[in-house]
């Protein structure tokens, strides 16, 4: 299946782009992150990065389905 991935803030800057379309064999957030690391090796996805499926925070074990958008949420700085 094809999953859209969004990057924000410093991650978008590192990758030089904010959106990817990845073709996946697995079906979890972790699988998306693994595929993204291959597609964009310069990305530093450390433990401080959180993930969202569509508009909700999600663990790496959370399932993703065709049509979902997975977002990488680097440390936030609102306020």
């Amino acid at each position: 299946m094809i999953i859209a991935v969004q990057l924000f803030g410093p991650l978008a800057e590192q990758a030089g782009r904010s959106r990817f379309e990845l073709t996946l064999s697995g079906s979890t957030v972790g699988d998306v992150v693994a595929a993204l690391s291959v597609a964009s090796p310069s990305l530093r996805i450390d433990r401080a990065v959180r993930f969202a499926v569509n508009t909700d925070y999600a663990e790496t074990t959370a399932p993703v389905r065709e049509g979902d958008v997975v977002s990488l949420i680097p440390p936030v700085g609102g306020g």
Binding site: T55, G77, G78, G79
Partner: protein, 134 residues
């Protein structure tokens, strides 16, 4: 009302959004761009956000506050784009019948927003720029 906007924030809008006949107290927090941070002179700040998710987080923060405190309405707005020194970046307003609840819920809302809302801050100083979190 919960919003991410590129327009200047209005304190009066926040107040008007939460005031209610059965509420005798309104607590408002305004975060503004400060001219210093960690000993450096800040010249401006650029905020970006995952708008749809941030607005949903604001609504969730309000729901959580309403479950914990006896409060009336909650307003949360955060600005995006390049802000100058003194510009308001975030406005939170909470109404309640009695003042303790409005203060506590408002304080809680900004603490949670800072941890959870998908918003990013790039700080420009004399020596360059940096992503700031926390």
């Amino acid at each position: 009302m919960f919003k991410i906007t590129a327009d200047p924030l209005s304190i009066d809008e926040a107040y008007a959004a939460v005031r209610a006949p059965d509420c005798g107290a309104v607590a408002i927090f305004v975060g503004t761009v400060r001219n210093h941070h960690d000993g450096k002179n800040v010249t401006r700040i650029s905020y970006s956000a995952f708008k749809e998710m941030a607005e949903k987080e604001f609504a969730r923060i309000a729901d959580e506050a309403r479950a914990r405190w006896k409060i009336g309405a909650v307003y949360i707005a955060h600005r995006t784009g390049v802000l100058e020194i003194g510009d308001a970046s975030v406005v939170i307003a909470v109404s309640s019948a009695h003042r303790a609840e409005a203060f506590e819920a408002c304080r809680h809302a900004i603490e949670v927003l800072k941890k959870m809302a998908p918003i990013w801050k790039e700080e420009f100083t004399e020596s360059g720029k940096a992503w700031i979190s926390g």
